[in-house]
């Protein structure tokens, strides 16, 4: 059995978790095993059908007020107890901020190694081989884990989501919370940017660099983003360091690594550290007034021109497209 940890936000299952479950199902089928999902929280049972619809034959449900708010320690303890009971061959997490926080804690609790941020999983001699970018994508590493269960986090937006008319069984687990004074507790979620997608989750990333000239001009990128579904605004480090936009938008070796369907670079020269974070995008387009900018060496479609003229024209074209 391959177990998938399912992340819930705003009472909905995150798309990245369904991608992970779809991949778990594909690999499990190859191994002649089944895929199962773990659902933690309070009043989350109603979400189980979505998981059956993505290949889970069982959903391990822990519905407990003590699990209503995410806590690394409480969740790791509950997951480890479950893993010891059901003995999965592998446990997959989405490589989101939650998965990246929880998976290593669980792995250490089980005394096993972890493969982080994988972009490919294949079956080899009855075991899993994980492939993952290192150096933010300048190199690609493939590895196997000799400890069991094989724990891995899978990068969002990489694995295809597969829906199937599936049915399954809900298995209720109990969870006995230990005394919690020794724990880190989330007391508040602050600065929520209502529904705004993170660059790692977006299908289209619209990034600006030093060529944007100032913070006020990032409004242009937001206007573009408003015309493109599932898009988010990104930035180069220069733009971030100038204080034009928050660093959570930074793409690159010391920012986020993204692999959207489309990456758009406006006024970004294409330094090696920037390229490291976006080279695995499916399609790259760039607008830059310098025909020799290195970004054009990786762009599928480049426009040599002034972004302050091209962006308004692009908005117009996108509006036309939408009204078609």
């Amino acid at each position: 059995m391959i177990l998938t940890y399912v992340e819930i936000r705003d009472n909905k299952i995150k798309k990245s978790s369904l991608e992970v479950l779809s991949e778990a199902k594909r690999r499990a089928a190859e191994l002649d095993e089944d895929a199962a999902a773990v659902l933690f929280g309070q009043a989350v049972e109603g979400l189980a059908p979505d998981l059956f619809g993505c290949g889970a034959s069982r959903v391990f449900l822990m519905d407990n007020p003590a699990l209503a708010q995410y806590s690394t320690q409480a969740y790791a303890a509950a997951l480890a107890a479950l893993a010891r009971k059901v003995n999965p061959s592998a446990i997959f997490f989405p490589a989101t901020s939650l998965g990246r926080d929880l998976a290593p804690r669980l792995a250490a609790r089980l005394g096993v190694a972890l493969a982080s941020d994988c972009t490919k999983v294949v079956v080899k001699d009855g075991r899993l081989e994980f492939t993952r970018p290192i150096f933010a994508g300048k190199a690609v590493l493939s590895l196997t884990l000799s400890s069991l269960p094989q724990v891995a986090t899978l990068r969002p937006n990489v694995f295809p989501l597969e829906k199937a008319a599936g049915q399954g069984e809900v298995v209720r687990g109990d969870y006995e919370p230990a005394a919690g004074q020794d724990r880190a507790q989330v007391v508040e979620v602050v600065g929520e940017r209502g529904g705004e997608l993170d660059v790692t989750e977006a299908d289209v990333v619209i990034s600006g660099g030093r060529g944007m000239k100032g913070p006020e001009n990032f409004g242009l990128l937001k206007e573009l983003s408003a015309l493109i579904p599932r898009s988010a605004v990104g930035a180069s480090r220069s733009a971030v360091d100038s204080g034009w936009i928050g660093h959570q938008h930074q793409v690159g070796q010391t920012g986020k690594t993204v692999s959207p369907n489309v990456y758009m670079a406006f006024g970004i020269s294409g330094a090696i550290q920037h390229l490291a974070g976006m080279s695995s995008s499916k399609v790259i387009v760039a607008v830059n007034k310098d025909p020799d900018a290195p970004i054009f060496k990786v762009a599928d479609f480049g426009v040599v021109g002034d972004l302050f003229q091209v962006i308004p024209a692009l908005k117009e074209e996108l509006r036309k497209l939408r009204s078609e």
Binding site: R105, V112, L141
Partner: protein, 260 residues
Amino acid sequence: MDILVFVKRVPDTESRIRVSHETNTVVEEGLNFIISPYDEYALEEALRIKESKGGKVTAVSVGKEDALTILRKCLAMGADEAALIKDPLEETYDGLRTARIIAGFVKKKFPQARLLLFGKQSVGADNAQVPSMLAELLDLPQVNVVVRLELEEDRGVAYREIEGAQEKVAFPLPAVISAQKGLNEPRYETLKGIMAAKRKEIPIIPIEEIGIAAEDLAPRVAVTRLEIPPARRAGRVTSGPAEETARQLVEFLHREAKVI
């Protein structure tokens, strides 16, 4: 307050990475090495806490003797002490192994440590494993990807970055914290600091001295392949009036690439 900062020696972010297909390792020759950038935020934070609340900052690295250079830099930036845990192995990509070594070291040499600071990930391996694994091994609370940290005597509050928001997390000390860009602006070494650092002795602790079972020192990660991804090829480049280039661009995305 006794603060430990864990720093790793990594190739400069400018580096073009080359690999050896025989050994499945990164070719070190010709690379310039630095402190992993996120570890610098961790060190800076430690120094600021020391400056405002007093205490002692110790920088620790697990690695070969060449990691002494980055430890010296930590001293030059203002760390009080440094220590190298000497590990004969090259990069193993096995975070649990490193975490076990660090856990053994902390238990043995720094059981009184109140704050254990890390980078959110080591640039290169990009694992983001060691801080959470260590927290589990030592049964401590953890807060990862922290952009703001406020400490009191026995507790603290940290703001951690998540998708589209921040989580405000309250925790008791001792605790494990991993630093994200935005936490602070690391200082430069001063000439005085560099001179003082030269005179300081950095103890080298052989890994055997930490007392970890041999089986736990064997990596559980086996590298099967290491490759450089194929370079992307330059595509079409167009220029001309904005209306025309914008039209071509949207047509490319919509009709040809079929991505919007």
